[in-house]
Subunit: 465 residues, 2 copies
């Protein structure tokens, strides 16, 4: 059904191409409406109020915990109060991993404590801990090249730094270290592993984060933690003296029986094509140490505030259905995203376009798409409307956001409203990810961009495949 | 003896005043030598090398611990290697307070953990912790005004902020809150107390520090901790909902039997007036969570490097003795400073002038003195020599540094080479006080100023009382 309509639209467009080529994608009236909604959004503080409410009332909300369940109830209440339709929770089960005690110390030659964070999914050292000599590698590749069995009873230290960038491009390289060190080190015989935090700050916060997803795990790996950047520097300095450096590490995380997580969903039901779905999303869960203000309270606040502004800015609902999805269990391996794709597998063809806001609270500066090759001009037309917000047209290789993985792989067109993430990895996955890092007003530009984007795609007859 | 010579000098000066009034305090040759030593110091990296060595090899060095003892051995080795004379340790006993477990959580209405640091000298809650309703006060004065017994079984929260300033002037007001909250709250019946950290950063580090000095303690107070600034904000937001906020706090510090601390002393023996002492100092102990890079590894490095540069820059020793004093147990109540003043009580009259570097690694921008009223012009003359380093003449109410307290009270002239402390209280007494916060080269200006200052006062016949 959807496929037929899609095909029909392409045929019609092809037929009128000689005429349409000089016709603007969006009429002046549409651009005017979008612009008015952008302006109104910039003067509205609702996004920040939501972020303050979530981070204060719920705080940290690790996947599968009672706190994440409270966050779902918080979201349902906020979404219902704003007048969204079909507010619901799609529940699923998720591995429940809980941080325990975590301590590290250099025993010799320079006795002192170092600050670590156990990586998500790590096994325990047991309360007695693990003691061993530290062997340092400059990179994951260097560890990978070490001979099998060559690290028997050693503590591996992968001291690979991460580059700061506006678009977060340093993350993909660095995250491989976080995901794979435990398994590579285990293969070589190591008894525990440390990595330099995946992050860009020199403050003494260790950046946690998931190892190879629990749900995909084959091998159990070895106990693995992240050192703060200053502690990684310190350990490297100690090693530079050339004497053996011995450490003791104690980490007692627990992997408990699966627990309930869920995606929270709400809709503005489309007035003409209610089966055509425009997904705007964020993730509700956070890591356990901060209050998840930039990761991803900001995204939750932005998408709710933008969808609410869309409702408030239109006299009647948009043509298509706007679906807000607040994913659960993103941090522990995109569990909510997978559940969503499975649950709505039969309607993914009717998913017109989808995006996730999950890169903090920085201003959006670029609009990327992943549209059909003959639809790239539609993305440029959207970007042109967003231009007054300082947003430039981007590429057609949009990632869409982490929870867009399965939709993207299923061929759903995705867009990225690319935020300035220069400082994002200073805070990401640390205890320091708290509300004060997001100044009041910081979300307005994001909300404005999203409301205009939603208006353009949800109130149109355009297709992007 | 010293008094007679001092008096004689004053009489001579008075007698020649009509002639001397237009004569510069320092000859061109003296200014030239001082300037050369300043320039040489700016190109010398020894200060940074010392700081790196101390913070790496010793790390945290809390008063009375084995780590502080290792720091003394480190200092003795470094001072001997540099060729100083009379290198020695003056030992004394100090109360040994050790941090234990520390956890805080909001139980209702918004369950979540908060990040705290037990204040130095605090008593324990016991492992079972303390639970109670939080009562907030905007200031120590507001707490002080609460009726006796009005806070029975409550957890007091003093949410007084600290102002950022170049000269650290916000600290004196804020530190009263840290020193006195436990005792005032106990008087009103409270069972535990929290303060907003004495600090200026919004990073999620709690700033520890001593409560009313253990050595002066009359009352035991109640268990007291500092909240990080983000956590103080969070608690205040939770309180703003108007419902009772209940917290649980667990802190298990221990006050152990007195342990050994000590001052490390080294000298350049004066060639003409060896009994006349110029003291240049810093403190060797640090708090227990950071590696004490800015507090006060930087000061230790600056004064050792400057005294070494003085030796290296002169063909023969200065007229007077330059005495390096690296105080122990500063953080826990100026215990080393008091021991020094007692030990050398009989020679304090021969202490010509003294100073301590204990305000981080920022550039010196002002030269303050506490000289006799008719000697203020001598301070201005010294400041004039330091002017090429960007140092302005200051006031005559110099503090001299914390460990100068007893010398200052005994009438020893003190000076403050006032550093830019704008960022000092971002790091002060936190786990984040680590070497990476001091860029290589940051100490050079400090070392240069100290070497020129030492040359001017140690190689002269001037008196400052």
């Amino acid at each position: 059904m959807r496929y037929l309509r899609h095909t029909f639209a392409v045929i019609v467009l092809a037929a009128i191409a000689p005429v349409a080529i000089s016709r603007p994608v969006f009429s002046d009236a549409v651009v005017e409406s979008a612009t008015q909604m952008m302006q109104a959004a910039r003067a509205d503080n609702h996004g920040y109020e939501l972020l303050q409410s979530l981070t204060t009332e719920i705080g940290p909300r690790l996947a599968g915990t009672p706190a994440e369940a409270r966050a779902r109830q918080w979201a349902v209440a906020k979404l219902q109060a704003s007048g969204f339709a079909n507010v619901r929770i799609d529940e699923f089960q998720v591995p429940l991993w809980l941080r325990g005690e975590e301590r590290a110390e250099i025993l010799s030659p320079f006795p002192q404590s170092l600050t670590i964070a156990t990586l998500g999914g790590s096994v325990s050292t047991g309360v007695q801990g693990v003691t061993g000599e530290v062997v340092s590698f400059d990179s994951l590749a260097a560890l990978s090249a070490a001979p099998a069995g060559s690290l028997q009873s050693r503590i591996v230290f992968v001291d690979e730094p991460m580059a700061r960038s506006r678009d977060g491009s340093g993350y993909a390289a660095a995250v491989a270290k976080r995901r794979m060190t435990a398994y590579l080190a285990a293969e070589k015989g190591a008894s525990a592993a440390l990595i330099r935090s995946v992050g860009t700050s020199s403050h003494r916060f260790a950046h946690t984060g998931q190892m190879r997803a629990v749900v995909e795990e084959g091998a159990a790996g070895i106990p693995t933690a992240a050192l703060t950047a200053p502690d990684a520097d310190q350990l490297q300095r100690a090693l530079a003296y050339g004497e053996p450096v011995t450490m003791k590490i104690v980490m007692t995380p627990e992997l408990l029986p699966p627990a309930t997580s869920g995606n929270v969903i709400a809709e503005i039901v489309g007035r003409e094509a209610p089966d055509e779905i425009v997904v705007v999303s964020a993730h509700l869960d956070s890591w356990d140490q901060g209050t998840g203000a930039v990761d991803d309270g900001a995204g939750v606040a932005i998408v709710i505030a933008a969808a609410r502004a869309l409702m408030g800015g239109m006299e009647k609902p948009p043509r298509r259905t706007v679906r807000i999805v607040l994913f659960g269990a993103e941090e522990v391996g995109l569990v909510g995203a997978r559940h969503y794709a499975q649950t709505y597998a039969s309607t993914l063809e009717q998913h017109i376009v989808a995006t996730e806001s999950d890169f903090g609270a920085g201003d959006i500066w670029r609009f990327d798409t992943r549209f059909g090759q003959d639809k790239i001009h539609l993305g440029r037309a959207i970007a042109q409307v967003l231009e007054p917000l300082g947003i430039a047209p981007g590429n057609n290789q949009a990632y869409g956001g982490p929870d867009m993985k399965y939709l993207r792989e299923a061929g759903v067109p995705v867009v990225t409203l690319m935020q300035d993430g220069s400082d994002y990895f200073d805070l990401h996955h640390t205890p320091n990810d708290t509300l004060d890092k997001v100044p009041p007003g910081a979300l307005d530009q994001n909300v404005a961009a999203h409301v205009a984007y939603l208006y353009l795609v949800a109130n149109s007859r355009l297709y992007f495949r």
